[in-house]
């Protein structure tokens, strides 16, 4: 069953464990980014794996493709030429333009790991969760949406 990565802003304490976990896997090149909304609120910015992915549309060599079955937008890094078109096309700015290995960095939802993405597993408060699409519908939220808590948002 397809799973989605969700962010609950109410629970994020801005510790950046998600970025550290991602860095530890991808040799210091994190695929998850961070936005500071104000002094007390940070938002982790993982790849949304958009239904109509602009990064995939922008890629001149069809390196980034959408896997319709799993709903994941994958990048075949081996064929990437590092033109950064995907990074420019991404409306959320989550693709890293750091060309350390002549390739852009694209989240693959840790497909090498059966338990799910490392960022979601390591999150100290459970703000990042990797849950089934069906449960998503229950929570009335989508990928990358910030769920409004029952008890109100923190300021």
């Amino acid at each position: 069953m397809a799973k989605r990565l969700t962010v609950r802003l109410d629970l994020c304490i801005g510790c950046r464990a998600c970025a550290a976990a991602c860095r530890s896997r991808f040799k210091n090149e994190a695929r998850i980014r961070y936005a500071e909304l104000n002094e007390t609120v940070d938002v982790p910015m993982p790849c949304r794996h958009c239904a109509d992915a602009l990064c995939a549309a922008a890629c001149p060599f069809e390196v980034i493709k959408r896997d319709e079955q799993g709903g994941v937008v994958r990048q075949a890094t081996f064929h990437c030429v590092g033109c950064r078109s995907c990074a420019l096309a991404c409306p959320f700015g989550v693709i890293d333009t750091n060309l350390l290995r002549d390739a852009t960095q694209k989240c693959s939802l840790c497909n090498d790991r059966p338990e799910g993405p490392r960022c979601a597993t390591t999150c100290p408060t459970g703000a990042l969760q990797f849950i089934e699409e069906e449960k998503l519908a229950e929570k009335r939220s989508g990928v990358g949406f910030v769920v409004r808590s029952l008890h109100g948002r923190r300021q």
Binding site: I13, N28, S149
Partner: protein, 556 residues
Amino acid sequence: MANGESPCRAGSRAAMKAVRTTCPFCLNGCESIVTAGYQYRMEYPTDAVVNRGRLCPRGNSASIVVDHPRRLAYPLLDGKEVGWDQAMAYCREALVGSEPSEIAVVYSRGLAHEEIGSVCGFASALGTSNLVCGYVEPDNCFQVRLAGVRAATLDDVRKAKTTLLVGDVFSTSPVAAGPITEARYADRKNRMVVIDSVKTRQAGFAHLFLQVKPGTEVFCLLGIAGSLDRSLGVDVARCAVAAGVEERQLSDVAQMLANGPGFVGSAMHLGRVAHPVQHSLMSQLVATESGATFNGFGEARVPFGKLSFSEFRGRVRAGGVRAVFWFGGLYPYSYPGVMPEAAKVRFSAVSSIFRPDVPLPGLVLPAASELEKESVGESYWGEVGRHPVAEPPSGARPVPAILAELAQARTEEAPSAPTLSEPEAVQVTLATLEGAGPGPAEFTLVGEKRAIGIGGFYESEEQVSVSPADSAQLGLSGTDDLLVESTAGSARFHVKSTAAVPPGVLAVGVNAHRNRALFPLADDPVSGIAMPPAAARVTKVPAAERSPAENIARAE
């Protein structure tokens, strides 16, 4: 060297596999699995009781200590690599050339319990009473207990109706923030109160945030305890004035805590806490008075020595100590103010640190890190076991073996921390209140704990947080730098204008040594040395006055 692989460990990789152990960083006792492969990697066991498969950024980067390219693999004498024979000869010379009373033995964090026992045994075998605890971070003072305080379990934290947090608990132990936020959102009526001088991210979760003047958390806590129990005879109004909060707010917190099962969590940071022992005692006093459970969130608990660190420094300055044997974390290196004193004595240290970028005077011997030895460790929620995930560097020797070579091997109990009664604790804090008063300084410099992870800091340590009001008054723009001068030193910072700090307060990260050097060390009779908020002056450095090279570096 491919992939930053340490030279001392090449070839031993094939025999390693996944090892389940406990994270060595803070006292939360998070279980993690370290896998050796192309590089050491952390994995997350979801069946772990304490952390449920979660790890903070420091825990995630714990494994980099093991194969760090700058890891110390050979003895260093005055910054140069030497053999073990020469190193041990240096130690023996130091032993022979000094009277027992002129030798000081220091232990610090990074050592297992048994190792601290052998260090204590080594000191008594030498016949010296100069046994010192070198771990002088303020959070070590949570060992000073108040009689009758109830230690919290994880369940107490999760089921608390009211949570009172003093200092930045979420930054000290991010994984412990899981159960705390769980309790905060479990019920609409649950309340969370934060007392701190800086509006941290944690404060964003609070229903009531008391922003006290820097270093005055203890008076705020004393006021709350005084409102809870009038028989303590505390002048609540005076405490409120000293802390810079309203008296009504203190009684509000007292009322919240009296409502139901509560939890008091307390944390301390360098440069933010003026009175560490009182901070610990007052947090516990609020807990005992309101019937709440208590936990002190700290990085480590190392037994207090027979001699306090400030007395030890005094003896070094006076020339009473001629040889120092240091075991564990190297604090002369962490506290720039202590470095000149280390140069005065014959200094021998055994540590699992990286090769220091500043050459340390004396001898530094490599030792196994916490991830490389079998040990039983302490955690907030009980004892934890640590298992070796890798072999120590080939040049390292175990601490007991080194001690046995220098003196006869012996193991002894480390000295224990004092326990105080409630009236004693109140007296100790009231004595501080007498001398409390606002300083004449233009700005107060406070320390902050900033997010750290693999590859360095996520939040720049070269940045100073300034309130928007001060920023406007100084005429600062986003590109200007600020020269911060305190009595201990000066440093230049990029400016971040934020409402998190109140006017008149500057906040800097204290992980970097250059920032720690801004805080003058204060002698504290119990904790050793304290690093309270410092008085500072600032000067604006416009972008035009920076060198072209600096401006290019800044733009990048």
